[in-house]
Amino acid sequence: MTTRTASSTKDMPMRMTEQAKYALSHAARKHVARGLAFAIALAVVAVPMAAEAQRKSPLAGAPAIRKRFELRSTRFEIGAGVGTTINQDFYHSFMISLRAGFHLTDWLSIAGFADLAAANIATGFRDQVVGSLGEDPGMIPLVREPTATEASSSMAKINNILGAQLEFTPFTGKYSLAGKLFAAYDFYAFVGGGIMSLSAADATNLASCSSDRALASPGMPTRDELRCSPAGTKPGFNFGVGMHSYFNQWLAFNIELRDFLAQINPSGRDVNADKVANSGDNTWVSTFMVTGNLVFYLPTTASISQ
């Protein structure tokens, strides 16, 4: 056991230095040890984190598919085929379809189309309705009940549908059928405008459905006032989806499902119950069509992406 005793000051500096040295070195060692321990802990944690932050995947920002054939980019597309309406009430229109477009990029393009009706075939619904009607107006007590001839004469037939559209192609890929047939394909959506040309089955003595005529005798419509001719050219909107299936770099099969929306009167008769068939009876009607075209691409070779 060491006891402290009083001593002269001339000895104290030396004794203090030793003590101080001892105390200092002991404290210093403790501090240094703590510091080192902290530094080691920090290094074990921080250095990997820094390495993690600096490490960048070589695939960062890379496209999903490299060396991909860009089958659409800056290429013209021209095609022809056939189509048909699929939800018409009175006549199915079978059409010759023409198509032309330019692909600005691999996913954006502009196109025009012309669907020309080659035949209008009566639907089963139309045959059942007309078949249930009589032919002698004298035997029909109600004015609003037409004869079979009156009913069929005002029904609308499509002559042609012309339009232009903007196409977006977000989906591109490949498929195989039973492991034998391989093809590249794409899905796209489109939106645009156009015009629809209609004619009546028999427009003889029929006023136009675009007229604003009123009843000659209010509340007392005649048979001819209850029907009109839907003939004319109607502007509208078109939108839908489509796909290409590529046989090779310059030939593909294209199929589109289109909805052409226009204000028309398919039956050519009173719709709004105002007892006269006129422009007030034109309503927004969706005309669904499906077309299939064989399309060619120019130039005949496609570029390859990075």
Binding site: A33, A43, A51, F69, F125, T172, S176, G179
Partner: protein, 308 residues
């Protein structure tokens, strides 16, 4: 002084070892990525099940892509040790789509869906149903379907009376069920804006079931004469699945339900529903419906098995 120096040396050693270890991990991942990228760019596309029964064939469109991908695989693949035994496998053993994103074999699919009639301009049905399918393999399944119908009279049906002084002879669907079989002939994947890959498949299905229908009397005063039919209903369909998660798909389908239905007689002079049914008019009906729904799979995970 010695102790701090020793501690410092130890610290430096620990830090250096840790940094080197992480650097090696990053290099390994970079080496794997080009091989995967080559696979994405050089698909032979699909049709096979998870046992890889289908043989790979040459793509007519992708001769150049195949050459480039092959070069990439040669560069990026690990060097084979000459001492290792050579494999007995050939190109014909390569599965058509290696590492399909989704395996269905041995899993149960619970698929609620909503659908709508697409081929009736007088009466539209909204259908709510559920599919319960068990996948025997990745390409073949058997399942049960239940359907509940809600009717909606269309605008054209309302105009029949106004324009032609006629009413429609219609039957509404109440509910139904079916036993279905399905097959996947086509599997593929597409790139979304060339940024992400989505796997999908097209399936065909057929089945047999029952549909309960009910007459909608032309004259509302004859509601007591309404009768029901229990119709045997074969169906065929085509659809697609898009694989979202390991246990979730988004499904679309177009199905044709064919049923010999019996309609209200015209004119209806019956005094009871049974008499009206006996006098009813039969017709073969195609009820074309478009579905959309989701598929939830159990178990929620799957294990990929590679040959050998």
């Amino acid at each position: 002084m010695k102790r701090p120096a020793i501690c410092l040396i130890v610290a430096v050693a620990i830090v250096g070892w840790t940094a080197m270890g992480h650097a090696k991990k990053g290099g390994g991942k970079a080496a794997d990525a080009p091989a995967e990228d080559a696979k994405a760019g050089d698909d032979k596309a699909a049709g096979g099940d998870d046992k890889g029964g289908d043989k790979a064939t040459t793509e007519s469109l992708d001769a150049d892509e195949g050459a480039v991908a092959k070069v990439e695989e040669d560069i990026s693949g690990p060097k084979k040790d000459a001492a290792r035994p050579t494999s007995q496998l050939t190109w014909s053993d390569i599965v058509v789509v290696p590492r399909k994103a989704f395996l269905k074999g041995g899993r149960l699919e619970l698929g609620p869906f909503y659908g709508q009639t697409v081929n009736d301009n007088l009466l539209r049905h909204h259908i709510f149903g559920v599919d319960l399918n068990y996948f025997l393999t990745d390409a073949i399944w058997i399942g049960l379907q239940g359907q509940y119908f809600i009717k909606q009279l269309t605008t054209q049906n309302e105009l029949i009376g106004l324009q032609y002084n006629r009413t429609s002879t219609l039957n509404r669907y109440l509910y139904g069920g079916a036993l279905n079989f399905g097959y996947v002939p086509l599997y593929g994947k597409f790139a979304l804006f060339n940024r992400s890959i989505v796997h999908w498949e097209i399936f065909a299905s057929a089945g047999i079931g029952v549909t309960i229908t009910e007459v909608i009397p032309r004259n509302p005063a004859n509601a007591s004469l309404a009768f029901k039919n229990t119709d045997l209903t074969p169906n065929v369909g085509i659809g697609s699945r898009f694989f979202i998660l390991d246990w979730l798909t988004v499904n679309f389908a177009l199905r044709d339900y064919m049923l010999p239905d019996k309609f209200e007689p015209n004119p209806n002079t019956a005094t009871t529903a049974a008499e009206a049914k006996a006098n009813g008019t039969s017709a073969f009906v195609h009820n074309l419906m478009f579905y959309m729904g989701v598929g939830m799979y159990l178990p929620t995970k799957f294990t990929y098995k590679t040959p050998g």
